[in-house]
Assembly symmetry: C2
Homo-oligomer: 198 residues x 2
DNA sequence: TTTGGAACTTGACGATGGAAAGATCGACGC
DNA sequence: GCGTCGATCTTTCCATCGTCAAGTTCCAAA
Protein backbone atom coordinates (compact mmCIF):
# COMPACT_ATOMS: atom_id res chain seq x y z
CA UNK A 1 0.00 0.00 0.00
CA UNK A 2 2.91 2.34 0.77
CA UNK A 3 5.06 3.65 -2.10
CA UNK A 4 2.57 2.55 -4.75
CA UNK A 5 3.18 3.23 -8.43
CA UNK A 6 3.47 6.88 -9.35
CA UNK A 7 1.58 8.40 -12.24
CA UNK A 8 4.41 8.67 -14.74
CA UNK A 9 5.48 5.05 -14.79
CA UNK A 10 5.73 3.28 -18.11
CA UNK A 11 3.05 0.64 -18.60
CA UNK A 12 4.15 -2.66 -17.14
CA UNK A 13 2.75 -6.09 -17.57
CA UNK A 14 2.17 -6.36 -13.86
CA UNK A 15 0.03 -3.51 -12.74
CA UNK A 16 1.35 -3.08 -9.25
CA UNK A 17 -1.88 -2.66 -7.37
CA UNK A 18 -4.66 -3.75 -9.66
CA UNK A 19 -6.87 -4.83 -6.79
CA UNK A 20 -7.12 -1.28 -5.48
CA UNK A 21 -7.30 0.25 -8.95
CA UNK A 22 -10.19 -2.03 -9.85
CA UNK A 23 -12.11 -1.01 -6.75
CA UNK A 24 -11.69 2.63 -7.69
CA UNK A 25 -12.75 1.95 -11.27
CA UNK A 26 -15.69 -0.13 -10.09
CA UNK A 27 -16.93 2.63 -7.85
CA UNK A 28 -16.79 5.09 -10.73
CA UNK A 29 -18.58 2.65 -12.99
CA UNK A 30 -21.22 2.09 -10.33
CA UNK A 31 -21.75 5.80 -9.85
CA UNK A 32 -22.07 6.46 -13.57
CA UNK A 33 -23.96 3.42 -14.79
CA UNK A 34 -25.81 2.27 -11.68
CA UNK A 35 -25.99 -1.34 -10.49
CA UNK A 36 -28.41 -2.40 -13.15
CA UNK A 37 -26.12 -1.41 -16.01
CA UNK A 38 -22.87 -2.21 -14.22
CA UNK A 39 -20.36 -3.82 -16.60
CA UNK A 40 -17.30 -5.73 -15.46
CA UNK A 41 -15.63 -5.33 -18.83
CA UNK A 42 -16.04 -1.57 -18.65
CA UNK A 43 -14.46 -1.58 -15.21
CA UNK A 44 -11.48 -3.45 -16.66
CA UNK A 45 -11.21 -0.97 -19.54
CA UNK A 46 -11.39 1.89 -17.08
CA UNK A 47 -8.45 0.41 -15.20
CA UNK A 48 -6.58 -0.06 -18.50
CA UNK A 49 -6.50 -3.80 -18.20
CA UNK A 50 -7.87 -6.79 -20.11
CA UNK A 51 -11.44 -7.89 -19.53
CA UNK A 52 -10.37 -11.08 -17.76
CA UNK A 53 -7.95 -9.44 -15.35
CA UNK A 54 -10.48 -8.74 -12.58
CA UNK A 55 -11.22 -12.44 -12.26
CA UNK A 56 -7.85 -13.08 -10.72
CA UNK A 57 -8.45 -10.64 -7.89
CA UNK A 58 -12.17 -10.92 -7.29
CA UNK A 59 -13.26 -14.17 -8.88
CA UNK A 60 -16.35 -12.84 -10.63
CA UNK A 61 -18.62 -9.80 -10.77
CA UNK A 62 -20.25 -10.79 -7.54
CA UNK A 63 -16.87 -10.86 -5.85
CA UNK A 64 -16.09 -7.34 -7.01
CA UNK A 65 -19.49 -6.00 -6.00
CA UNK A 66 -19.17 -7.71 -2.64
CA UNK A 67 -15.86 -6.01 -1.99
CA UNK A 68 -17.39 -2.72 -3.09
CA UNK A 69 -20.31 -3.15 -0.72
CA UNK A 70 -17.99 -3.93 2.19
CA UNK A 71 -16.01 -0.80 1.40
CA UNK A 72 -19.36 0.99 1.28
CA UNK A 73 -20.24 0.02 4.83
CA UNK A 74 -16.91 1.35 5.98
CA UNK A 75 -17.65 4.73 4.44
CA UNK A 76 -21.19 4.53 5.71
CA UNK A 77 -19.92 4.34 9.29
CA UNK A 78 -17.52 7.20 8.58
CA UNK A 79 -20.37 9.39 7.37
CA UNK A 80 -22.27 8.77 10.58
CA UNK A 81 -19.17 9.35 12.72
CA UNK A 82 -18.58 12.68 10.98
CA UNK A 83 -22.03 13.94 11.93
CA UNK A 84 -21.76 12.59 15.44
CA UNK A 85 -18.49 14.46 15.98
CA UNK A 86 -20.27 17.75 15.23
CA UNK A 87 -23.22 17.08 17.53
CA UNK A 88 -23.66 17.60 21.25
CA UNK A 89 -22.96 14.63 23.44
CA UNK A 90 -26.41 13.67 24.69
CA UNK A 91 -27.71 10.36 23.43
CA UNK A 92 -30.68 11.76 21.52
CA UNK A 93 -28.55 14.27 19.61
CA UNK A 94 -26.04 11.57 18.81
CA UNK A 95 -28.80 9.36 17.48
CA UNK A 96 -30.14 12.17 15.33
CA UNK A 97 -26.62 12.86 14.06
CA UNK A 98 -26.20 9.22 13.09
CA UNK A 99 -29.43 9.45 11.16
CA UNK A 100 -28.23 12.55 9.33
CA UNK A 101 -25.00 10.77 8.49
CA UNK A 102 -27.04 7.85 7.16
CA UNK A 103 -28.85 10.27 4.88
CA UNK A 104 -25.66 12.11 3.89
CA UNK A 105 -24.18 8.86 2.69
CA UNK A 106 -27.21 7.90 0.64
CA UNK A 107 -27.27 11.30 -1.05
CA UNK A 108 -23.54 11.37 -1.71
CA UNK A 109 -23.34 7.84 -3.12
CA UNK A 110 -26.81 6.75 -4.18
CA UNK A 111 -25.67 3.85 -6.36
CA UNK A 112 -23.43 2.45 -3.65
CA UNK A 113 -26.25 2.85 -1.15
CA UNK A 114 -28.53 0.92 -3.44
CA UNK A 115 -25.92 -1.80 -3.88
CA UNK A 116 -25.72 -2.16 -0.11
CA UNK A 117 -29.40 -2.09 0.71
CA UNK A 118 -31.43 -2.98 -2.36
CA UNK A 119 -29.43 -5.44 -4.38
CA UNK A 120 -29.09 -9.19 -4.52
CA UNK A 121 -25.73 -9.02 -6.22
CA UNK A 122 -23.31 -8.81 -3.31
CA UNK A 123 -22.64 -12.08 -1.52
CA UNK A 124 -23.90 -11.62 2.01
CA UNK A 125 -22.25 -14.85 2.99
CA UNK A 126 -18.88 -13.17 2.49
CA UNK A 127 -17.03 -12.79 5.78
CA UNK A 128 -15.64 -9.31 5.17
CA UNK A 129 -18.95 -7.91 4.04
CA UNK A 130 -20.71 -9.52 6.98
CA UNK A 131 -18.25 -7.97 9.41
CA UNK A 132 -18.77 -4.46 8.15
CA UNK A 133 -22.52 -4.74 7.74
CA UNK A 134 -22.71 -6.10 11.25
CA UNK A 135 -20.58 -3.29 12.56
CA UNK A 136 -23.05 -0.83 11.09
CA UNK A 137 -25.90 -2.70 12.72
CA UNK A 138 -24.19 -2.73 16.08
CA UNK A 139 -23.56 0.97 15.85
CA UNK A 140 -27.26 1.49 15.44
CA UNK A 141 -28.06 -0.89 18.30
CA UNK A 142 -25.74 0.93 20.68
CA UNK A 143 -27.13 4.31 19.72
CA UNK A 144 -30.68 3.19 20.35
CA UNK A 145 -29.73 1.60 23.67
CA UNK A 146 -28.05 4.84 24.75
CA UNK A 147 -31.27 6.77 24.23
CA UNK A 148 -33.03 4.32 26.51
CA UNK A 149 -34.52 2.29 23.70
CA UNK A 150 -35.22 -1.35 24.35
CA UNK A 151 -36.42 -4.13 22.13
CA UNK A 152 -36.87 -4.47 18.44
CA UNK A 153 -39.65 -1.90 18.27
CA UNK A 154 -37.45 1.01 19.31
CA UNK A 155 -34.65 -0.13 17.06
CA UNK A 156 -36.95 -0.74 14.13
CA UNK A 157 -38.52 2.68 14.52
CA UNK A 158 -35.22 4.55 14.41
CA UNK A 159 -33.81 2.44 11.61
CA UNK A 160 -36.97 2.75 9.55
CA UNK A 161 -37.14 6.56 9.62
CA UNK A 162 -33.48 7.00 8.86
CA UNK A 163 -33.53 4.40 6.13
CA UNK A 164 -36.83 5.57 4.71
CA UNK A 165 -35.68 9.17 4.51
CA UNK A 166 -32.35 8.15 2.99
CA UNK A 167 -33.89 5.86 0.40
CA UNK A 168 -36.66 8.23 -0.64
CA UNK A 169 -34.38 11.25 -0.80
CA UNK A 170 -31.73 9.37 -2.77
CA UNK A 171 -34.38 8.20 -5.21
CA UNK A 172 -35.60 11.76 -5.72
CA UNK A 173 -39.00 11.10 -4.18
CA UNK A 174 -38.92 13.77 -1.53
CA UNK A 175 -37.51 16.66 -3.48
CA UNK A 176 -39.55 19.20 -1.56
CA UNK A 177 -37.54 18.19 1.49
CA UNK A 178 -34.26 17.77 -0.32
CA UNK A 179 -34.56 21.16 -1.95
CA UNK A 180 -34.66 23.00 1.37
CA UNK A 181 -31.59 25.17 2.10
CA UNK A 182 -28.98 23.13 4.01
CA UNK A 183 -29.68 24.12 7.60
CA UNK A 184 -33.46 24.09 7.15
CA UNK A 185 -33.23 20.65 5.62
CA UNK A 186 -31.12 19.33 8.45
CA UNK A 187 -33.53 20.78 10.95
CA UNK A 188 -36.52 19.23 9.24
CA UNK A 189 -34.84 15.82 9.01
CA UNK A 190 -33.69 16.03 12.62
CA UNK A 191 -37.24 16.90 13.67
CA UNK A 192 -38.58 13.84 11.89
CA UNK A 193 -36.00 11.52 13.41
CA UNK A 194 -36.69 12.84 16.88
CA UNK A 195 -40.32 11.83 16.60
CA UNK A 196 -39.47 8.15 16.81
CA UNK A 197 -36.93 8.25 19.61
CA UNK A 198 -38.07 6.27 22.65
CA UNK B 1 -61.01 -8.32 -23.38
CA UNK B 2 -64.28 -10.26 -22.95
CA UNK B 3 -64.50 -13.80 -24.29
CA UNK B 4 -60.73 -14.13 -24.52
CA UNK B 5 -59.07 -17.34 -25.71
CA UNK B 6 -59.90 -20.42 -23.67
CA UNK B 7 -57.22 -22.79 -22.44
CA UNK B 8 -57.78 -25.59 -24.91
CA UNK B 9 -57.31 -23.66 -28.11
CA UNK B 10 -54.87 -24.96 -30.66
CA UNK B 11 -51.74 -22.83 -31.03
CA UNK B 12 -52.31 -20.03 -33.45
CA UNK B 13 -49.92 -17.66 -35.11
CA UNK B 14 -51.65 -14.72 -33.55
CA UNK B 15 -51.71 -15.18 -29.85
CA UNK B 16 -54.94 -13.40 -29.06
CA UNK B 17 -53.88 -11.41 -26.05
CA UNK B 18 -50.12 -11.47 -25.95
CA UNK B 19 -49.93 -8.12 -24.23
CA UNK B 20 -51.69 -9.43 -21.14
CA UNK B 21 -49.94 -12.78 -21.28
CA UNK B 22 -46.56 -11.07 -21.40
CA UNK B 23 -47.38 -8.99 -18.35
CA UNK B 24 -48.29 -12.12 -16.43
CA UNK B 25 -45.12 -13.87 -17.57
CA UNK B 26 -43.05 -10.82 -16.76
CA UNK B 27 -44.38 -10.63 -13.24
CA UNK B 28 -43.54 -14.30 -12.69
CA UNK B 29 -40.07 -13.76 -14.11
CA UNK B 30 -39.59 -10.72 -11.90
CA UNK B 31 -40.69 -12.62 -8.80
CA UNK B 32 -38.41 -15.56 -9.54
CA UNK B 33 -35.31 -13.90 -10.93
CA UNK B 34 -35.46 -10.41 -9.44
CA UNK B 35 -34.90 -7.20 -11.39
CA UNK B 36 -31.19 -7.65 -11.66
CA UNK B 37 -31.44 -11.00 -13.43
CA UNK B 38 -34.65 -10.20 -15.31
CA UNK B 39 -34.50 -11.58 -18.85
CA UNK B 40 -36.79 -10.48 -21.64
CA UNK B 41 -36.08 -13.62 -23.62
CA UNK B 42 -37.11 -15.79 -20.70
CA UNK B 43 -40.34 -13.84 -20.43
CA UNK B 44 -41.00 -14.55 -24.09
CA UNK B 45 -40.26 -18.26 -23.60
CA UNK B 46 -42.57 -18.31 -20.62
CA UNK B 47 -45.35 -16.92 -22.79
CA UNK B 48 -44.55 -19.47 -25.49
CA UNK B 49 -43.54 -16.87 -28.03
CA UNK B 50 -40.40 -15.86 -29.91
CA UNK B 51 -37.91 -13.60 -28.18
CA UNK B 52 -38.69 -10.69 -30.45
CA UNK B 53 -42.43 -10.79 -29.95
CA UNK B 54 -42.52 -8.56 -26.87
CA UNK B 55 -40.96 -5.73 -28.83
CA UNK B 56 -44.11 -5.18 -30.79
CA UNK B 57 -46.22 -4.63 -27.68
CA UNK B 58 -43.79 -2.93 -25.33
CA UNK B 59 -40.96 -1.63 -27.48
CA UNK B 60 -38.11 -2.83 -25.33
CA UNK B 61 -37.37 -4.19 -21.87
CA UNK B 62 -37.83 -0.77 -20.38
CA UNK B 63 -41.30 -0.58 -21.87
CA UNK B 64 -42.30 -3.89 -20.35
CA UNK B 65 -40.87 -3.01 -16.95
CA UNK B 66 -42.59 0.34 -17.09
CA UNK B 67 -45.95 -1.30 -17.70
CA UNK B 68 -45.22 -3.73 -14.89
CA UNK B 69 -44.40 -0.90 -12.51
CA UNK B 70 -47.60 0.93 -13.39
CA UNK B 71 -49.56 -2.23 -12.71
CA UNK B 72 -47.62 -2.47 -9.45
CA UNK B 73 -48.83 0.93 -8.27
CA UNK B 74 -52.38 -0.13 -8.95
CA UNK B 75 -51.96 -3.18 -6.71
CA UNK B 76 -50.08 -1.07 -4.22
CA UNK B 77 -53.12 1.15 -3.79
CA UNK B 78 -55.34 -1.91 -3.50
CA UNK B 79 -53.20 -3.31 -0.69
CA UNK B 80 -53.58 -0.07 1.23
CA UNK B 81 -57.31 0.09 0.57
CA UNK B 82 -57.73 -3.45 1.88
CA UNK B 83 -56.17 -2.54 5.21
CA UNK B 84 -58.09 0.71 5.41
CA UNK B 85 -61.37 -1.12 4.94
CA UNK B 86 -60.67 -3.23 8.02
CA UNK B 87 -59.69 -0.29 10.21
CA UNK B 88 -61.79 2.13 12.24
CA UNK B 89 -62.71 5.36 10.58
CA UNK B 90 -60.64 7.91 12.47
CA UNK B 91 -57.91 9.54 10.48
CA UNK B 92 -55.02 8.22 12.54
CA UNK B 93 -56.19 4.62 12.29
CA UNK B 94 -56.69 5.02 8.57
CA UNK B 95 -53.17 6.37 8.21
CA UNK B 96 -51.76 3.46 10.18
CA UNK B 97 -53.78 1.05 8.05
CA UNK B 98 -52.38 2.59 4.89
CA UNK B 99 -48.90 2.08 6.29
CA UNK B 100 -49.62 -1.56 7.05
CA UNK B 101 -50.93 -1.99 3.51
CA UNK B 102 -47.73 -0.39 2.22
CA UNK B 103 -45.76 -3.01 4.15
CA UNK B 104 -48.07 -5.87 3.13
CA UNK B 105 -47.41 -5.06 -0.48
CA UNK B 106 -43.65 -4.95 -0.08
CA UNK B 107 -43.64 -8.31 1.69
CA UNK B 108 -46.00 -9.96 -0.77
CA UNK B 109 -44.18 -8.74 -3.89
CA UNK B 110 -40.66 -7.72 -2.92
CA UNK B 111 -39.26 -7.73 -6.45
CA UNK B 112 -42.11 -5.61 -7.79
CA UNK B 113 -41.68 -3.26 -4.85
CA UNK B 114 -38.01 -2.93 -5.67
CA UNK B 115 -38.81 -2.27 -9.32
CA UNK B 116 -41.15 0.54 -8.30
CA UNK B 117 -38.96 2.20 -5.68
CA UNK B 118 -35.34 1.24 -6.19
CA UNK B 119 -34.80 0.78 -9.90
CA UNK B 120 -33.77 3.00 -12.78
CA UNK B 121 -35.24 0.67 -15.33
CA UNK B 122 -38.85 1.84 -15.57
CA UNK B 123 -39.38 5.00 -17.59
CA UNK B 124 -40.75 7.57 -15.19
CA UNK B 125 -41.53 9.84 -18.08
CA UNK B 126 -44.21 7.38 -19.16
CA UNK B 127 -47.68 8.87 -18.81
CA UNK B 128 -49.44 5.78 -17.47
CA UNK B 129 -46.77 5.10 -14.88
CA UNK B 130 -46.77 8.72 -13.83
CA UNK B 131 -50.53 8.68 -13.35
CA UNK B 132 -50.50 5.69 -11.04
CA UNK B 133 -47.42 6.72 -9.10
CA UNK B 134 -49.00 10.12 -8.63
CA UNK B 135 -52.24 8.57 -7.48
CA UNK B 136 -50.32 6.71 -4.80
CA UNK B 137 -48.64 9.93 -3.75
CA UNK B 138 -51.94 11.78 -3.56
CA UNK B 139 -53.40 9.03 -1.45
CA UNK B 140 -50.61 9.55 1.02
CA UNK B 141 -51.03 13.33 0.91
CA UNK B 142 -54.72 13.10 1.66
CA UNK B 143 -54.18 10.67 4.51
CA UNK B 144 -51.63 12.94 6.13
CA UNK B 145 -53.86 15.98 5.68
CA UNK B 146 -56.76 14.13 7.32
CA UNK B 147 -54.68 13.53 10.44
CA UNK B 148 -54.01 17.24 10.66
CA UNK B 149 -50.60 17.05 9.10
CA UNK B 150 -49.34 20.07 7.21
CA UNK B 151 -46.25 20.67 5.17
CA UNK B 152 -43.56 18.45 3.81
CA UNK B 153 -42.23 17.53 7.25
CA UNK B 154 -45.38 15.70 8.34
CA UNK B 155 -45.70 14.00 4.99
CA UNK B 156 -42.06 13.05 4.86
CA UNK B 157 -42.21 11.60 8.36
CA UNK B 158 -45.11 9.30 7.61
CA UNK B 159 -43.80 8.26 4.22
CA UNK B 160 -40.33 7.59 5.58
CA UNK B 161 -41.43 5.24 8.39
CA UNK B 162 -43.79 3.31 6.18
CA UNK B 163 -41.28 3.09 3.36
CA UNK B 164 -38.37 2.36 5.67
CA UNK B 165 -40.21 -0.46 7.39
CA UNK B 166 -41.40 -1.88 4.09
CA UNK B 167 -37.99 -1.74 2.45
CA UNK B 168 -36.05 -3.15 5.40
CA UNK B 169 -38.55 -5.91 6.08
CA UNK B 170 -38.71 -6.90 2.42
CA UNK B 171 -34.92 -7.04 2.30
CA UNK B 172 -34.83 -9.31 5.33
CA UNK B 173 -33.08 -6.75 7.50
CA UNK B 174 -35.57 -6.64 10.33
CA UNK B 175 -36.31 -10.30 10.75
CA UNK B 176 -36.78 -9.98 14.49
CA UNK B 177 -39.79 -7.81 13.70
CA UNK B 178 -40.95 -9.82 10.74
CA UNK B 179 -40.80 -13.05 12.68
CA UNK B 180 -43.33 -11.88 15.28
CA UNK B 181 -46.68 -13.72 15.17
CA UNK B 182 -49.10 -11.88 12.89
CA UNK B 183 -51.10 -9.78 15.36
CA UNK B 184 -48.07 -8.90 17.46
CA UNK B 185 -46.22 -7.84 14.35
CA UNK B 186 -49.08 -5.66 13.20
CA UNK B 187 -49.31 -4.09 16.63
CA UNK B 188 -45.58 -3.37 16.71
CA UNK B 189 -45.63 -1.86 13.24
CA UNK B 190 -48.73 0.18 14.04
CA UNK B 191 -47.01 1.45 17.20
CA UNK B 192 -44.01 2.58 15.20
CA UNK B 193 -46.11 4.33 12.59
CA UNK B 194 -48.15 6.15 15.23
CA UNK B 195 -45.00 7.72 16.61
CA UNK B 196 -44.61 9.98 13.61
CA UNK B 197 -48.21 11.07 13.19
CA UNK B 198 -48.60 14.83 13.65
C1' DT C 1 20.62 -18.53 -13.05
C1' DT C 2 17.11 -21.32 -13.17
C1' DT C 3 12.47 -22.14 -12.29
C1' DG C 4 7.89 -22.09 -10.44
C1' DG C 5 3.99 -19.55 -9.49
C1' DA C 6 1.46 -15.22 -9.62
C1' DA C 7 -0.35 -11.63 -12.67
C1' DC C 8 -2.16 -10.63 -16.84
C1' DT C 9 -3.76 -11.43 -22.00
C1' DT C 10 -6.01 -13.71 -25.74
C1' DG C 11 -9.56 -16.17 -27.70
C1' DA C 12 -13.58 -18.80 -27.29
C1' DC C 13 -18.42 -19.91 -25.59
C1' DG C 14 -23.34 -19.29 -24.57
C1' DA C 15 -26.65 -15.84 -23.25
C1' DT C 16 -28.63 -11.33 -23.63
C1' DG C 17 -31.21 -7.14 -25.84
C1' DG C 18 -32.19 -4.97 -30.05
C1' DA C 19 -32.59 -4.22 -35.34
C1' DA C 20 -33.95 -5.80 -39.83
C1' DA C 21 -36.40 -8.52 -42.87
C1' DG C 22 -39.58 -12.07 -43.87
C1' DA C 23 -43.88 -14.94 -42.90
C1' DT C 24 -48.69 -15.22 -41.38
C1' DC C 25 -53.03 -13.70 -40.31
C1' DG C 26 -57.44 -10.91 -39.69
C1' DA C 27 -60.43 -7.37 -41.20
C1' DC C 28 -62.17 -4.34 -44.43
C1' DG C 29 -63.40 -2.67 -49.12
C1' DC C 30 -65.12 -4.18 -53.35
C1' DG D 1 -66.31 -14.37 -52.60
C1' DC D 2 -61.67 -11.98 -53.31
C1' DG D 3 -57.73 -9.10 -52.71
C1' DT D 4 -54.99 -6.41 -50.08
C1' DC D 5 -53.03 -3.94 -46.39
C1' DG D 6 -51.56 -3.35 -41.74
C1' DA D 7 -50.84 -5.66 -37.45
C1' DT D 8 -48.74 -9.57 -35.35
C1' DC D 9 -45.29 -12.80 -34.86
C1' DT D 10 -40.77 -15.41 -36.43
C1' DT D 11 -36.15 -15.76 -38.08
C1' DT D 12 -31.71 -14.16 -38.57
C1' DC D 13 -28.02 -11.24 -37.43
C1' DC D 14 -25.06 -8.18 -34.50
C1' DA D 15 -22.67 -6.09 -30.46
C1' DT D 16 -22.05 -6.73 -25.69
C1' DC D 17 -21.88 -9.24 -21.64
C1' DG D 18 -19.69 -12.65 -17.98
C1' DT D 19 -16.96 -16.71 -17.59
C1' DC D 20 -13.58 -20.27 -18.86
C1' DA D 21 -9.31 -22.31 -20.71
C1' DA D 22 -4.91 -21.75 -22.49
C1' DG D 23 -1.05 -19.01 -23.35
C1' DT D 24 2.35 -15.13 -22.12
C1' DT D 25 5.02 -12.19 -19.08
C1' DC D 26 7.25 -11.24 -15.05
C1' DC D 27 8.97 -11.51 -10.13
C1' DA D 28 11.36 -13.69 -6.53
C1' DA D 29 13.03 -17.49 -4.12
C1' DA D 30 16.18 -21.42 -4.44
Amino acid sequence: MTDGPTLDEKPRYHHGDLQAALLVAAEAELAEAGIEAFSLRRVARRAGVSHAAPAHHFGDVQGLLTALAAEGYRRFLQAQAAREAEATGDAASQMVAAGLGYIDFALARPALFRLMFSSDRPDYGNADLLVWADRAYQHLEQGVAATGGQGIEDLGAVWAVAHGLADLLAAGRLDALRGLPGPARDAALAGIIRRVLP
